[in-house]
Every structure is written in structure tokens, then in C-alpha cells.
């Protein structure tokens, strides 16, 4: 009796979380009403699906792919061709379901390329996906009818055939279309992790040898997971095509594949909601940072390297580590250490930003001696003094972080000890 009650409680809890997710997506356009933020939030939705589909490989099945944009991009191309066909009157299919065309394209190519690449695991798999990604990208020169050559393929998303009577001309309507698909795809991918397939994928990731001994075919598990991941990537690509109404060859390319790897990893591969955080954060930083800094790729690269070295679980991993002390009521004991680390960390970041921005000013600006705005100050990149100050701030910040890290570690050891002690008592 009590067991079924807790099961029902867990189910309600899950439904509640997803309902909240949908509610947030529905309410956001009323809070951020400007057209640029609507466009940014639409992109976030697309990349949430894309990053979640990528995490079906990296997080769920331990497959590191460098060519996931193939399925995303091809899905987008298929969708755009389908929309053009509808506009030409050759075919009739509602726009709301168009991402399914992309999904079908992604699935088809996921099956084709997956049957080649999933025979291997680990580093070899990574290299095969890289090769396939490069192959598809360079084949855009050959199949100019499909890829549209240099200028790409463009279309008009406003078709006469829709389910709900919206025209999908205004970007808010596209936002809600993307939002709806984001919820559907995210729930579907979440449910997939609860199926036997999801569990076997986890087993194949953690201990392929043992999974084989138990009697599972690891290749087939990887293959199914890979194909389904291609399906969801294709849906994301289809939404991308609907939103931008243009697809070009780089959309299937290595840069796009790298971007999804970056956002998934920064968000966190170990937890289901990790890639959602990553997609939102990276899209936000991309739109916000690329506006006023040349160096946003450098900042991303540094953030990524930092995370690989010190937080391999990503942002979600860092959050989850604190769940146990939170439940045990010890979280407040960690706070002083964090506050202590915060000040030098901000100093180090400020120093780094100053060094990078001054470097870009020296190498890229038309007139390097023209002052740049940094932290509400006017800084001259050609003066030695400003470099010395920036490097000093950076050095002091790093030294402070290293010192504070010791305090944080000591606090953690304390908290762990008391949690173990209380765990032993109960």
C-alpha cells in the first residue's frame, strides 16, 4: 500500500516538474517581450532539444560524437525542402508537424551512419563521427541541388496548411511552436531514459564487458540509441529551419557539432536536465557576449577547459553535489568558504577579461591606442601600466582562489564527516 503511494507521489512530482517547465516556457514571452529576446528564447528551445539529443549519446550511452550536427543539419534541410514543396503546391503537410520531417531525415541518416559508427566505442567512435561529419560537410559541394551551394537553401515558413490556424509569420507564434516541441521532445527523451533501452545504454556506458556477459548486444544498444538521438536532433534541426528559414552547409558542419558538445558538457552530462542548463546558458552567453567582445569563443574555450579539469560533471554536476548536504541541513556550513572564494574569483575573472580584451585591442583594432571601456573605466591597451595592473589583479585573484579552495575543501571534509556520523546513527 505505502509503496504504491510513494510511486504515485513520485509520478505526481515528475508531472509537476514538467508542468512547471511548460508553464515557464509559456509565460516567458510575457516577461521578456522584446523581439530580440523572443528570438533568443526560440533559439534556446531549439538548442535544448539538440543538446538533450546529444546527451542521449554522451551522457546516456558514453558515446562522444564530433559529428552530431549532421543529423541536426540534414533534418533542417529536409524540413526546408518539405516547406518549399508545400509552398509550391506539390505536397500538403501542416507546418506544426514539419519538424517530424526533419526528425525522419535525422533518423534515416542516423540509421545509415549509425550502422557504421556504432560498431566501435570510445575514441575510435569519436574519430569515425568526426570523419562522417567532415564527409557530409564537404559533400555539400557535390550535391548542390540539395544543399544549395554557397548561398544555402531558403524558404518561407508561412504556408497555407496549418493545424491550428496560426500563420506562423510573427516570431511569437514560432516561439510557441518551438516551445511546444521543446516540451514534447524533452518529455519523450526523459521517458526514454526510463525504458529498458535507456537502462541498457547506461550499462553499456558504464561497463560494456559486463553488459555483454549479461547477454546484451552492446552494438545494437548503441545503434538504437544513436538512431533515436539522430531523430531528435533532426526535430531540432527542423525547428531551426522553420525559425531562420535558411539552411547553409556549415549547419551540418564541425563547428555546429563542436557547439553542441560544448553546451552539453558545460551544462552537465551526468544529469538529465544538465544539457537544458547548458543550452540556455551558452545561447545566452553567445548572444550577449558576441555583441560586445571579440573574444567570446576564447572565453567559452577557457570555461570548457576549466570545466573538464575541475568540474567534469558540468554545472548540473556541481549543483547535484550539494543535494546531500542540503537534505542533511549542512549547506549553510559550506557558505563561508564559498563567499571567501567569490571575491578572489571575481578578481581573477576581471584580470583575465582585462588581459584578453587589451590583447584583442592590440591585435585587431584599427587604432590600438584608442581607449576601450573596461568595467566602467577607460583603459589604454598600449600603456604598460594597464597591462601590469591587469596581470597583477589576475595573479592576486588566482592566489586568492587557491587559498580559498583550501578553506572550501576543509569545510567539505567537515560536512562529509558529520553527514557520515549522522548517517551511522540512523
Amino acid at each position: 500500500m505505502s509503496q504504491s503511494q510513494t510511486a504515485r507521489g513520485a509520478l505526481l512530482w515528475h508531472i509537476g516538474i514538467w508542468a512547471l517547465f511548460a508553464l515557464v516556457i509559456a509565460v516567458l514571452p510575457y516577461i521578456f517581450t522584446s523581439s530580440s529576446s523572443i528570438s533568443m528564447m526560440s533559439q534556446m528551445g531549439v538548442f535544448i532539444i539538440f543538446a538533450l539529443s546529444y546527451n542521449m549519446l554522451l551522457g546516456e550511452a558514453g558515446m562522444l560524437s564530433f559529428g552530431h550536427a549532421v543529423y541536426f543539419g540534414l533534418g533542417g534541410f529536409f524540413t526546408l525542402h518539405a516547406i518549399r514543396a508545400v509552398n509550391d503546391g506539390v505536397w500538403s503537410f501542416p507546418l506544426e508537424l514539419m519538424p517530424l520531417v526533419g526528425g525522419a531525415g535525422g533518423l534515416a541518416f542516423g540509421i545509415i551512419f549509425g550502422s557504421i559508427s556504432t560498431r566501435r566505442a570510445g575514441v575510435t567512435f569519436a574519430m569515425i563521427t568526426l570523419g562522417i561529419g567532415s564527409m557530409v560537410e564537404s559533400s555539400a559541394n557535390m550535391f548542390t541541388d540539395f544543399f544549395g551551394g554557397e548561398s544555402g537553401i531558403s524558404g518561407n515558413r508561412v504556408t497555407d496548411v496549418t493545424l491550428f490556424g496560426f500563420s506562423y509569420g510573427p516570431s511569437v507564434e514560432v516561439y510557441y511552436l518551438i516551445g511546444a516541441w521543446t516540451v514534447i521532445a524533452a518529455v519523450a527523451m526523459y521517458l526514454l531514459t526510463k525504458t529498458p533501452l535507456g537502462r541498457i545504454s547506461n550499462a553499456v556506458r558504464d561497463n560494456p564487458e559486463r553488459a555483454q556477459f549479461v547477454g546484451y548486444n552492446t552494438t545494437i544498444a548503441r545503434f538504437i540509441q544513436f538512431s533515436l538521438s539522430g531523430f531528435f536532433a533532426g526535430i531540432a534541426g527542423g525547428l531551426f529551419a522553420i525559425m531562420f528559414e535558411i539552411m547553409t552547409a556549415p549547419n551540418v558542419g564541425l563547428v555546429q557539432s563542436g557547439a553542441v558538445l560544448l553546451m552539453t558538457f558545460i551544462g552537465g552530462v551526468g544529469v538529465f536536465f544538465g544539457p537544458i542548463i547548458g543550452a540556455v546558458l551558452v545561447t545566452y552567453m553567445h548572444t550577449a557576449l558576441s555583441g560586445f567582445s571579440e573574444g567570446w569563443i576564447l572565453y567559452f574555450g577557457l570555461l570548457f577547459v576549466f570545466m573538464v579539469m575541475y568540474a567534469p560533471g558540468g554545472i548540473a554536476g556541481v549543483l547535484c553535489v550539494h543535494a546531500a548536504p542540503w537534505r542533511a541541513g549542512h549547506l549553510w556550513r559550506l557558505l563561508p568558504g564559498y563567499l571567501l572564494a567569490l571575491v578572489p574569483a571575481l578578481l581573477a575573472i576581471a584580470g583575465l577579461v582585462a588581459v584578453v580584451e587589451m590583447g584583442y585591442q592590440l591585435s585587431l583594432a584599427y587604432d590600438p591606442s584608442s581607449p576601450i571601456d573596461l568595467f566602467y573605466m577607460e583603459v589604454n591597451a598600449t600603456s604598460l601600466l594597464s597591462w601590469l595592473v591587469a596581470l597583477l589583479v589576475l595573479a592576486v585573484g588566482i592566489a586568492g582562489v587557491l587559498g580559498a579552495a583550501r578553506v572550501v575543501r576543509a569545510r567539505w571534509a567537515e560536512v562529509n564527516r558529520s553527514m557520515q556520523a549522522s548517517g551511522a546513527k540512523t
Binding site: 575510435t124 570523419g131 564541425l254 573574444g295
Partner: protein, 316 residues
């Protein structure tokens, strides 16, 4: 016709040897440490840019020695303070770290040297015609690249197979505990191997930077193809890397220089094909347009039919 074939062979060999200079370092690092250095082409670019800066203060010959050493030093730092820390998380974490380094290094190059190509020129002492064939000249610098690449292969091979140092390095991969127990510092061996491999990439950059163009996109244009070479030749196999480099160098050079399509070939034996159907459309694509994608296609094919590559010892 003969003229174009001879020069395609020479240029293909040259391109192949340049690929080999890059691939040898990559396959060495992989063979010895099991680390796939994604940033290998970025170190190659660093080599070219360092050579440019050094040669602008001194001359090319100093840069030829100093730039690879400097790039190797940077590689050692990368291994010591980066890779060694994530080693415990496994090879995928190491791969991810080097992947992140690609972004960092490529952007740092823009930060230091700017977005436009730098003027890294062939040294005047090598800027003459080696020989003239069918009225087309063959520059001496290309001959120099070939010589250096061949010397490099002989030197690496001799070092690994014929010397005691090479023996210890090879043992450190398969039996790190035993080598450690015999009193060798295994982590330091790994650092040295990584430094050596990245140094080789730096050398390739010094040689190729003035032959091609030294610009921030050079790593990205070379990176994927080097991976293809290493997989095609067999991961960790030096001889395989040499064979694969030459094959891919020749194939791509020939594909670019031959402006024929399958349809032309069929027309030669009396068959005409319209380009309305899919097969016909495919047959009408020029070989030069397929050329870019051929290496990747070859890699996918070899992975299907011979997963360990041309001369690889094991599958992964």
C-alpha cells in the same frame, strides 16, 4: 597529359609528406599514451606562427630549430598541468580537454597575431628552381620539405625501435607499473612523449607555414584530414601513417587536377548518360568536386572493411 601526371605525383608526394609530418606526431602520442590529441593541428599552427615571429627577428634556420622546441615546450606544459590532471577520468576526458584547447589556442593566435595572414615567406637561400621539367619549374623549397620529412621518419623510427629510450617508451604504454617499478618516472616519460609529438607538429608548421599561408584558419583546414590519415593508417602505427599520408596526398591531388566525371569516362567508351536521374546526376559530378570528400569517404570505407586501418596492430 604526362606532364600533369608527373607534377600531380610530385605535388601529391609533397602534400602526403606534409600530412605525414603532422600525422606522425599524432599517431605517436596516441600509440604511446592512448591520448588522441585533438589540438594537434593547433600546435602545427603555433609552429608556423612562432617560426614567423622568430624568423622576423633572426632568420629561417634559427626558427627551424627554435620554433619546434618552443611548441614542444608548450606541449609539455599542456601535458603536465592539463592532461595529467584529467588522466584519472579516462581517455574521453583527455580528448575533451584537447578539444577545448583547440578553441583556446586558435583564439589566442588571433589575439596575438591578428586575423589577417602574416607575411611568413620562404627563405631566400631556398627560393630557387630545383629543376625544370616539361617547361614547369619545381621549387627547391618543395625538395627541402620532402628531405626533412624523410629524415624525420627515419629518425623517429630509429629512435623508437633501435634505442633503449624507445624501448622504455614503448614499455611504458603497455606495462606502466612494471616500468615504474624498474625505476623510470612514467609520468615524465608521458610528458616527454607529448612534448615530442607536439614538437613534430610544430616542425610541420614551420615547414608548411611558408609553403601555404600562415593564417588563423590553417589549423581548422588541416585538423580533420590529419585524423583521417591516422585512422586510415591504423592508430599508433608509424608505417601506417606514412602509407596513409602518401595515399591520401596522392588521391586528393589527382582528384583536384583531373577534371573528369564518371559520365565523361562512360562517354569515352560510347555510353551517354543523361543527368536527370539520380545515378546520372551523380555520374556527372566532376572528380575535382568529389576530391574534398574522398579522404573522408576512404576513411569510412576502411572502417567498415578493415577497422584497424592499414597497419594498425589493434582495433582501438
Amino acid at each position: 597529359m604526362l606532364e600533369s601526371i608527373v607534377f600531380s605525383v610530385l605535388n601529391g608526394l609533397l602534400y602526403g609528406m606534409l600530412l605525414f609530418m603532422l600525422a606522425s606526431g599524432l599517431t605517436l602520442i596516441f600509440g604511446m599514451m592512448g591520448v588522441l590529441n585533438f589540438a594537434h593541428a593547433s600546435f602545427y599552427m603555433l609552429g608556423a606562427y612562432c617560426a614567423y615571429t622568430i624568423s622576423s627577428y633572426t632568420n629561417f634556420w634559427v626558427a627551424l630549430i627554435v620554433a619546434p622546441l618552443f611548441v614542444g615546450f608548450l606541449g609539455a606544459l599542456t601535458e603536465r598541468f592539463g592532461l595529467r590532471n584529467v588522466h584519472k577520468h579516462g581517455h574521453v576526458a583527455e580528448l575533451l580537454l584537447t578539444f577545448g584547447l583547440v578553441y583556446v589556442i586558435d583564439e589566442l593566435v588571433v589575439l596575438i597575431w591578428g586575423q589577417i595572414p602574416v607575411d611568413y615567406a620562404i627563405p631566400p637561400s631556398l627560393d630557387f628552381t630545383l629543376f625544370t621539367l616539361f617547361g614547369t619549374s619545381f621549387p627547391a623549397y618543395r625538395g627541402f620539405i620532402l628531405c626533412v620529412a624523410i629524415l624525420m621518419f627515419v629518425a623517429i623510427y630509429g629512435l623508437l625501435v633501435r634505442t633503449r629510450v624507445g624501448m622504455i617508451i614503448r614499455a611504458a604504454l603497455s606495462h606502466p607499473e612494471m616500468v615504474g617499478a624498474l625505476g623510470h618516472d612514467v609520468p615524465r616519460i608521458f610528458t616527454l612523449v607529448f612534448a615530442f609529438g607536439t614538437g613534430l607538429a610544430g616542425l610541420a608548421g614551420v615547414m608548411a607555414g611558408n609553403y601555404y599561408i600562415t593564417e588563423p584558419g590553417m589549423a581548422f583546414s588541416m585538423g580533420p584530414i590529419v585524423f583521417v590519415v591516422v585512422v586510415f593508417g591504423g592508430l599508433g602505427s608509424l608505417g601506417g601513417a606514412l602509407a596513409a599520408s602518401l595515399i591520401i596526398g596522392l588521391v586528393t591531388t589527382f582528384a583536384v587536377s583531373l577534371n573528369y566525371s564518371i559520365a565523361d569516362l562512360l562517354a569515352g567508351i560510347g555510353l551517354t548518360l543523361g543527368n536527370e536521374s539520380i545515378v546520372g546526376g551523380l555520374a556527372h559530378i566532376d572528380l575535382s568536386r568529389i576530391g574534398q570528400m574522398l579522404p573522408y569517404l576512404m576513411m569510412v570505407l576502411i572502417l567498415i572493411f578493415r577497422p584497424r586501418g592499414l597497419m594498425g596492430a589493434r582495433e582501438s
